[in-house]
């Protein structure tokens, strides 16, 4: 089975974010980046499926030069090769982003395309489903398990309120993987060594023949929300704060 897994690089989780001079995006200088966590689970799913059914796992990412880092990590964890669409994505809307990814996926004609459920930066949660539409593939989202059966696949989807459902579909297909699909692996020393010999194919939008189209959604401004601070903040060192909190819970809130 040939699998393409699309992954994204996002600012590290505990980043202190500042708005940039345009007022529309964040100041990117000095930020640390990491793989989008839901995508790390999509990669894990790709590697497990490859181990179980054989074939090839190809990591794909669109982003500036720094995004090569998450592709190298994917190669070290066991992806066979990688494709880097070297373009500045910024706050690009998910349709524009998916058009780039779709053009690259077409060059591979995989059996299965995997994505994470959503990105921790823009959080649209749409790239996978749009990608399926652009590629003309059947899809499923919030996927927790995948099994190959009779030339197609059977997946377990999570629904709301503790319900689940199996869904069958033909291949090729696209699956947006739910976080928690399987425990994430670490790269081994051997894996890191091997990754150095693996290929990262670099492409641009122009190479892929993808021209920018006028966006259907535009971003006015980005800002730090004014917090409706409800919490009574308890100051002091750890011991003092703990003592005062217990006092408040006993005599003010009366819950202890």
């Amino acid at each position: 089975m040939k699998i393409v897994v699309a992954i994204k690089q996002v600012p590290a989780r505990d980043s202190q974010l500042r708005i940039d001079g345009t007022g529309k995006w964040i100041e990117e200088a000095d930020l640390a980046y990491e793989v989008n966590e839901p995508d790390a689970y999509a990669l894990e799913a790709a590697l497990r499926l490859k181990e179980r059914y054989g074939g090839e796992a190809i990591a794909l990412s669109a982003g500036p030069a720094r995004a090569a880092q998450i592709l190298r990590e994917a190669l070290a964890k066991g992806a066979d090769r990688a494709i880097h669409i070297e373009e500045d994505m910024g706050a690009l809307d998910p349709l524009a982003g998916a058009r780039l990814l779709a053009a690259a996926v077409r060059t591979e004609a995989p059996d299965l395309v995997l994505t994470g459920l959503q990105s921790d930066d823009l959080g649209y949660g749409q790239t996978g489903v749009i990608l399926a539409e652009l590629l003309g593939l059947a899809h499923a989202t919030i996927v927790m398990q995948v099994e190959v059966r009779d030339g197609g696949i059977r997946v377990k989807r999570e629904l709301e309120n503790g319900w689940f459902r199996h869904v069958e579909m033909p291949l090729p297909a696209l699956l947006a993987i739910q976080s928690g699909f399987g425990t994430l692996r670490y790269a081994t020393l051997m894996g890191i060594k091997k990754a150095r010999t693996k290929e990262i194919r670099r492409l641009t939008a122009a190479d892929l023949g993808v021209a920018a189209e006028s966006p259907t959604v535009t971003l006015d401004r980005a800002y730090v929300p004014e917090r409706g601070k409800r919490a009574q903040m308890i100051a002091g060192g750890p011991r003092e704060a703990a003592r005062r909190l217990v006092e408040k819970l006993r005599f003010e809130a009366r819950v202890l």
């Binding site: 899809h139 709301e160 535009t218 703990a242 819950v255 202890l256």
Partner: protein, 329 residues
């Protein structure tokens, strides 16, 4: 000019369709936006055997209620819903199409919008009207930043609304004609085959009934640090719970997960340790009587729903808190 609210139904206890309650929030938002724009609001619901549901809306102030009916819509599929709603939208030609940001909508709305060359503004939390244009507010970076977005290009414009962003009770009475809409669908249009829905056992660990819940999030960093919050839970006589990432990583069982994909709890005391407060978590605990949050980031959204907050290193604060509670016992 009109605003169309696409509502959601799902199989109820006896297989009969029932509303997803988020639908009424979407309906309220559609009515409100329509009124502000001097436009009319309509509603649509898709499925099979949904006449009764559609008729429940006949007493609302809506221009029309569309019952999108087809045998092939009996079970939800992204292919079926997307094709059927696209046909309705092409016929009704609304300017805005609003959806609840449910799991089901997340599964088909991006496809529907992309098939019409558009991007849906997903998970919007509010709106305002600026010079006759709708501006929607979304959260980025898990709620750390907000953005104002606008639609460019031609209608229809698509958006989905975060759970709880609009109040469902603002319904105006009126009379709405219920129209049946039968989309053209063929079995070959639907590529996925959904099987029976099921629940998984071993969910009950007494979380829902607990008087005190100590809940742990990503701030705990490693599985080896879990005993720190176990000690606190023991001192308080509390049940231990967690946010999604902790259960995803396998550090605590999934049955202890609080949030939109886990349990909903409402204890008299909820202590959130190292939980930033993503909306998915907040919906599972915001009805708690008293909420305490311990987090190193003073801007963490959890402090918006907390009653008492301590900004600090949980590895220092939690042992002190455990000790302070032991002292009063």
């Amino acid at each position: 000019m009109s605003v169309l609210a696409v509502l959601e139904q799902r199989p109820g206890p006896h297989g009969r369709p029932e509303w997803n309650r988020m639908s009424f929030e979407t309906l309220a938002a559609a009515s409100q936006i329509a009124a502000e724009l001097g436009a009319t609001a309509s509603a649509a619901v898709a499925g099979r055997g949904i006449e009764t549901l559609a008729r429940e809306l006949a007493g609302r102030r809506l221009r029309a209620v569309y019952a999108v009916e087809h045998d092939l819509l009996r079970e939800y599929t992204a292919d079926g819903y997307s094709a059927a709603l696209r046909q309705l939208i092409e016929r009704v030609a609304p300017r805005f199409v609003l959806f609840p940001h449910s799991y089901q909508v997340r599964d088909f709305l991006p496809k529907l919008a992309a098939s019409m060359g558009r991007v849906a503004v997903s998970d919007a939390v509010s709106h305002r009207i600026d010079r006759g244009q709708v501006v929607l507010v979304r959260q980025l970076f898990q709620g750390k930043l907000y953005v104002d977005v606008r639609f460019a290009g031609d209608a229809p414009h698509f958006a989905s609304l975060q759970a709880g962003a609009y109040r469902a009770d603002r319904a105006e009475e009126g009379q709405a004609p219920v129209e049946s809409f039968v989309p053209r669908l063929a079995p070959g249009d639907i590529r996925t085959r959904p099987l029976e829905r099921f629940r998984e056992g071993a969910r009950d660990v007494g979380l829902a009934a607990a008087g005190i819940v100590v809940s742990v999030g990503r701030g705990i960093r490693e599985a080896e640090n879990i005993p720190l919050v176990e000690d606190l839970a023991r001192a308080l006589g509390a049940e231990l719970a967690a946010s999604r990432p902790i259960c995803d990583a396998g550090w605590l069982p999934i049955a202890r997960q609080v949030g939109s994909s886990g349990q909903t709890v409402a204890p008299k005391l909820y202590v959130a340790v190292g939980i930033s407060g993503a909306i998915q978590h907040l919906v599972g605990m915001k009805e708690s009587h008293t909420v305490v949050a311990i987090n190193k980031d003073p801007n963490a959204p959890i402090f918006e729903v907390a009653d008492y907050g301590i900004v600090g290193d949980l590895f220092e604060v939690v042992p002190e808190l455990t000790a302070a509670i032991e002292k009063i016992k």
